[in-house]
Amino acid sequence: MKVESNWAARALPAAALLVWLPAAAFAHAAGGSAGAGFLTGFRHPLGGLDHVLAMLAVGMWGAQLGRPAIWVLPVAFPQVMALGGVAAILGLPLVGIELGVTLSVLVLGSMIALDRRPPIWGAFLIVSFFAVFHGYAHGAELPGKTGAVAYSAGFVIATGLIHVTGIAIGLVVKLPHGGKALRAGGSAIAAAGLFLTGQLLLR
C-alpha cells in the first residue's frame, strides 16, 4: 500500500500538468499552431460512441489478459491505428469501414465477456485488425491544412487516454469478484456493439 500511495503522490502532479499544458496551449490560435487544432482533434475520438466503446474494450481486455498484453497493446495500438489513418490519407480503398468499427465493439466486448485468452500475438492481431478500421475512419476526416500536427496529436492523445481509462477500469480484476464485474462490463459493451451493428445493417 505504501508503494502505491507514494506513486500516487508522484503521479498526481504530473497528471495536473497534463491537464494544464493543453489549456496553456489552447489559448489563442494566433500564438502558434498549437491552439487551433488540438482541441478539435482531442474532441474527435470522444464524439463517437462506437469508437469510445471499442477503445475502452481494448484497454479492459488488456487488463484482463495481464502482462504482457497490458503494456504491449497501448504501445503498439497507436502505430497500427496511425497506419490505418495513413491508408485513408493516401486514398487506399478499404471496404466496410463502418461495419468494421461496429463489429469491433461487438467482438472485443465478447472477448472480455467470455474471458477469452489467446496468446499475445493473437490478441494483437485481433486488436490490430480492428484498429485499422478505426484509424481509417478517423484518418479520412483529418483536416489537410495547417495545424495538422496539433490536430493529430490531440486525436492520438485522446484515443490513448480512452485506452488508458479502459485499462484503469479493467484493473477491477484485482479486486474480489472483480473478474465477474469486468466480464459483465464486457457483456454490456458487446450488447452495445450488437445494437450498433444491427442499426448499421438495417439502415
Partner: protein, 212 residues
C-alpha cells in the same frame, strides 16, 4: 524531538513533487494571456513560449528527452546537451534565413523516429544516437527561428528564450524518466513515445499527399 523533525521532513517528502508541479504551473500560467502573436512580450519571452505553442517542435523535444532518460547515463546528459546545442545552432541558421527545405517534413520524421525509439526502448550505437540528436535538434531550432514574413527584432534574445525552454523541458523530462523506474512509469514513457510516433506518421502522410 523526533516528532518535531518528522513533520517538516514528511511535508517536504510529500510536497516536493507537488511543489515542482506548482512551480511549472506558475511558470506556464502567463502562456494563455500572452499567446497572442501580436502582443509585445519581448523577444526573449516569445522565444520561451515558442516551443510550447508549436507541437511540431515540442513533440520531437519531448521524445528526445524521453529517449535520453530511458537510455540512462551517459546518454541521459550527452544527448540532451547535444540536442540543445543543435537547437541553438539551428536557430542561428533560421535567423540567417538558411532555408533547409527538408525541415518541415523532417520535424515529423524526427517525431516518428524518436517516438518509435522510445516506444521500442531502442538502443543505438553512441555515435549514431549523437548524430540523430544533432540532426533533429538542428531542424527543430531552424524551424523555430525561420520566419521570413516576420523577422525577429532581437534574434539573440529570441534564441536564448528558445534555448531556455528547450533546456528546461529536456531537464524535467530526462530527470523524471531516469529517476522513476517503476513499471507503470516506464510503460507510460513508452506509450507517450508511441503517441508521438503515431502523430508524426499521420502528419507525414498528410505532407506526402501535399494536402497540408
Amino acid at each position: 524531538m523526533s516528532g518535531a523533525w518528522a513533520a517538516p521532513a514528511l511535508l517536504g517528502r510529500v510536497s516536493r513533487p507537488a511543489s515542482s508541479a506548482l512551480a511549472a504551473l506558475v511558470w506556464l500560467h502567463p502562456a494563455p494571456a500572452l499567446a497572442h502573436g501580436s502582443l509585445a512580450v519581448g523577444d526573449f519571452y516569445s522565444g520561451m513560449l515558442h516551443p510550447f505553442l508549436h507541437f511540431e517542435t515540442l513533440l520531437p523535444t519531448l521524445a528526445m528527452g524521453l529517449w535520453s532518460g530511458q537510455l540512462g547515463s551517459p546518454y541521459s546528459w550527452r544527448l540532451p546537451l547535444a540536442f540543445l546545442g543543435a537547437v541553438m545552432a539551428g536557430s542561428v541558421a533560421g535567423i540567417l534565413e538558411v532555408d533547409l527545405s527538408l525541415a518541415p517534413t523532417s520535424l515529423e520524421l524526427s517525431m516518428l523516429v524518436l517516438g518509435l525509439l522510445v516506444a521500442a526502448r531502442g538502443k543505438l550505437p553512441a555515435s549514431l544516437a549523437l548524430a540523430l540528436a544533432l540532426l533533429f535538434g538542428l531542424f527543430d531550432g531552424q524551424t523555430s527561428a525561420y520566419d521570413p514574413q516576420a523577422p525577429i527584432g532581437r534574434p539573440l534574445l529570441f534564441i536564448a528564450g528558445v534555448g531556455s525552454s528547450v533546456g528546461l523541458i529536456l531537464f524535467h523530462v530526462v530527470t523524471r524518466v531516469v529517476r522513476y523506474r517503476a513499471f507503470w512509469v516506464q510503460t507510460g514513457v513508452r506509450v507517450m513515445g508511441s503517441w508521438i510516433a503515431a502523430t508524426g506518421l499521420l502528419v507525414l502522410a498528410l505532407e506526402w499527399t501535399g494536402e497540408r
